[in-house]
Chain length 167, copies 2
């Protein structure tokens, strides 16, 4: 379970080499940090964490490196709620989608093979060649429902998430 990030770093280096790009100290540090975060994160959060650790990396480099990581397949960009981008590292091939609680902001990940199959079938019917998909289901999680939370209108989600995410 708790494995080192060396494998990911090696894969990233391979990718960079293939593209004629270089593995720098900054990129290495970012990869190490990203693979120590076992949850969704934002670009600015990453920037902040690096600063906290005393590793000076500029905003531009963070964004540039995230772009490379997404291209290399090591990191995925996800939409949570209706907000800006979030990222998550890819471990193995565990594609999943998200249930997002509009009351507490919590995110439940799920994976469903039948859902995947059904989407493939829909694409086939429309002669569409899929490469990627993105499904968010908004609503209220069990514990919030017990606390009597009413489902929110979808448009409130964004506000809620922003409130939660900013310091």
């Amino acid at each position: 379970m708790a494995h080192s990030v060396d494998r990911e770093l090696a894969r990233f280096q391979d990718f960079l080499q293939q593209q004629g790009l270089k593995l720098t100290a900054e990129r290495t540090a970012l990869v190490r940090e990203i693979f120590s975060i076992h949850y969704h994160f934002e670009a600015d959060e990453l920037l902040f964490k690096m600063k906290e650790k005393g590793v000076k990396i500029s905003r531009a480099t963070v964004y540039r490196t995230l772009e490379l990581l997404v291209k290399s397949g090591l990191v995925r960009r996800v939409h949570l709620g209706e907000d800006h981008y979030h990222y998550e590292h890819v471990s193995g091939n565990s594609h999943h989608d998200h249930l997002i609680c509009t009351a507490c902001g919590g995110v439940i990940e799920f994976h469903d093979e039948e859902l995947e199959r059904l989407q493939m079938a829909i694409c086939a019917k429309k002669k569409f060649t899929p490469t990627f998909h993105n499904l968010q289901i908004l609503g209220v999680c069990d514990s919030c429902r017990r606390k009597g939370q009413q489902p929110d209108a979808p448009d409130r989600v964004r506000m809620i998430q922003q409130t939660r995410l900013r310091k």
Copy 2:
């Protein structure tokens, strides 16, 4: 098929009244415009169209009215690709999801009852009370595939859409 927007205007007025809000000339003009657009649109596009017609409405009012329309259920906010918000008016209860071609930027709408049922089942299993969902499948449409378009990496989608949408 071609019906007037009076029904929608009446529904909007009802909603406003319930909330102690007012139906103004600006709001009326925006509703009329929105229900004459039979496709997805952006807030700035709407602003531009109003200007073109010589109806002076500020950016703030456009955003404020869209928010009210989303709350009232007359307009839906959708994500297309990984870009900023798009909107579409709601006619009847035709919920649908989107196949988005990363080559030409085209959007194919689809609705699938089984997909809806399956999502409800997944939510039930997780004791999650859904209110709304959002599914985009990115890939290449039939005609682009015939033209030999390769599926793009997901991260390119955004760039492509931006290029296409701006004048």
